[in-house]
């Protein structure tokens, strides 16, 4: 079967294009799903390295699914050995420091609750929800990344939102 150069991931231009398109998405996906405890950046790189090494066997259409599956599997291999403690929180410098100490404390408390609640979501809910809220992705875009339907994404996100609200209310 004849193949044009552009059909081949082994072509450096093609690979670089795919890399730039999917690398951040893969990294974020692994990060939201498993937390940063297991070094999602390493896994994302390893997944692309594998794609490089098998560039002849994977078509460009399959490349995204390939790196997502490989990255996911690499994570799962390690999850077996560690029970993950999700560390989603980023210490972000507050832009307005002239709040009164009580407000700051409340704010801090709220963030902690939110963090715990996010940790209690299922992996699939958390991934879809954070991609939507934090990355600002539409349902369709998330559906394409995860290879599921937009309807399923919508359900996951809505369910995640409801769970978070309930949990924060309770605490």
């Amino acid at each position: 079967m004849p193949k044009s150069l552009n059909d081949n991931i082994c072509n450096e231009v093609m690979f670089s294009k795919l890399f730039k398109k999917h690398y951040q998405n893969l990294y974020s996906y692994l990060y939201y799903k498993f937390g940063d405890y297991l070094n999602p950046e390493d896994k994302a790189q390893e997944a692309f390295t594998k794609l490089w090494q098998n560039c002849g066997k994977v078509t460009p259409e399959k490349a995204k699914s390939y790196v997502f599956t490989v990255g996911n599997n690499m994570m799962l291999n390690e999850v077996k050995h560690h029970k993950v403690v999700l560390q989603h929180q980023q210490t972000k410098p507050r832009s307005h420091t002239n709040e009164n100490p009580e407000f700051l404390m409340q704010e801090q408390e709220y963030l902690q609750k939110l963090q715990r609640a996010i940790g209690n979501l299922t992996e699939s809910e958390r991934t879809a929800f954070l991609m939507n809220r934090v990355e600002g992705k539409k349902h369709k875009e998330i559906a394409a990344l995860l290879d599921i339907s937009a309807k399923a994404v919508e359900k996951r996100i809505y369910r995640a939102l409801s769970k978070l609200r309930v949990e924060i209310e309770e605490l």
């Binding site: 790189q45 490089w52 929180q89 996010i118 609200r165």
Partner: protein
């Protein structure tokens, strides 16, 4: 539009300006916005795509290099192998080999007018290219030669070399038997560096390493050419071996004295007739079971 629908649309980042106003009127608005803002602190770090790309592509070199140099190397190797093969083919003597199996005879014309008839389970090989300079043929088994006049003609066997100029003769070289019979002209046999010249009707026979003298017989050609094997004062085992070569059978003769001498013949075309011709004069009985035959004393 219901509250839930507005929230769904908000979640899909798909609110129109009017819907956004309606959304802002909801009781949940403040809570949802608060959560949304707080969630931003959970954002995944921005990946350093350039550095990651360098890391990934630098790793490829280790594994991809072998495939990139292996392919051209294989091509070169293939060309060398084909070239070598062609060279060997062109320079090696081209040996022509003809073989017969059990119950099979074959007439073969040599590059000159000479003819060879191969008896069953025999083979000859010769070099066609150098035939005109050197007439030499390797023989295993039994064959009848009609040699055209010309240069020396050698028949090379394990037991000796038969040299002629132009004549008709039969050579039989089996396990422990080496027999040359001259029908016409003269034949010289070299066996263990001893040279004997045969004239028509003479037989040269080595059995178990010993030469056996025979009286002369006047024959035109060997009888096996006409599908009949004949034996003159030969041990029964030679007869049975020949029988096995002419019929595709195995003969079990454990209980029979195989060294008794047999004179007579058997046909190649009728197995029962052949068995009778062997067993009756030797006072034996035979039993036939498909492909095996058991011989017993009468």
């Amino acid at each position: 539009m219901t509250r839930e629908e507005l929230i769904q649309k908000w979640l899909d980042h798909a609110l129109t300006p009017q819907e956004l106003e309606a959304f802002k009127q909801l009781d949940d608005y403040e809570e949802l916005t608060k959560m949304h803002n707080a969630l931003q602190s959970f954002k995944a770090p921005i990946a350093d795509v350039e550095t990651a790309y360098e890391t990934v592509t630098s790793k490829r070199k280790d594994t991809s290099k072998p495939t990139s140099w292996l392919k051209p190397l294989l091509r070169i190797a293939a060309i060398l192998v084909i070239g070598f093969g062609a060279y060997m083919y062109a320079t090696l003597p081209s040996l022509t080999t003809v073989e017969t199996v059990v119950a099979n005879k074959e007439l073969l014309k040599l590059p000159d007018a000479s003819e060879v008839t191969l008896n069953a389970v025999s083979s000859v090989s010769f070099n066609e290219d150098t035939w005109n300079e050197q007439r030499e043929i390797n023989l295993k088994g039994e064959a009848y030669f009609k040699v055209a006049k010309g240069a020396t003609f050698n028949v090379v066997t394990e037991d000796g070399i038969v040299t002629v100029l132009g004549t008709q003769f039969n050579v039989k070289q089996r396990n422990d038997l080496f027999e040359v019979f001259c029908y016409e002209g003269s034949v010289s046999v070299t066996h263990n560096s001893e040279k004997v010249v045969l004239t028509p009707g003479q037989r040269y026979l080595i059995l178990d390493g010993k030469q056996i003298r025979n009286e002369e017989e006047m024959l035109k050609e060997p009888t096996w050419i006409r599908n009949e094997s004949s034996f003159k004062s030969l041990p029964l085992r030679e007869v049975i071996q020949e029988f096995e070569r002419q019929y595709d059978v195995t003969v079990d003769a454990k209980n029979v004295d195989l060294s008794q001498v047999f004179t007579g013949s058997f046909t190649h075309t009728d197995i029962d007739m052949a068995l009778k011709s062997i067993t009756i004069p030797s006072q034996l009985k035979y039993q036939k079971k498909q492909k095996s035959i058991i011989l017993k004393r009468d």
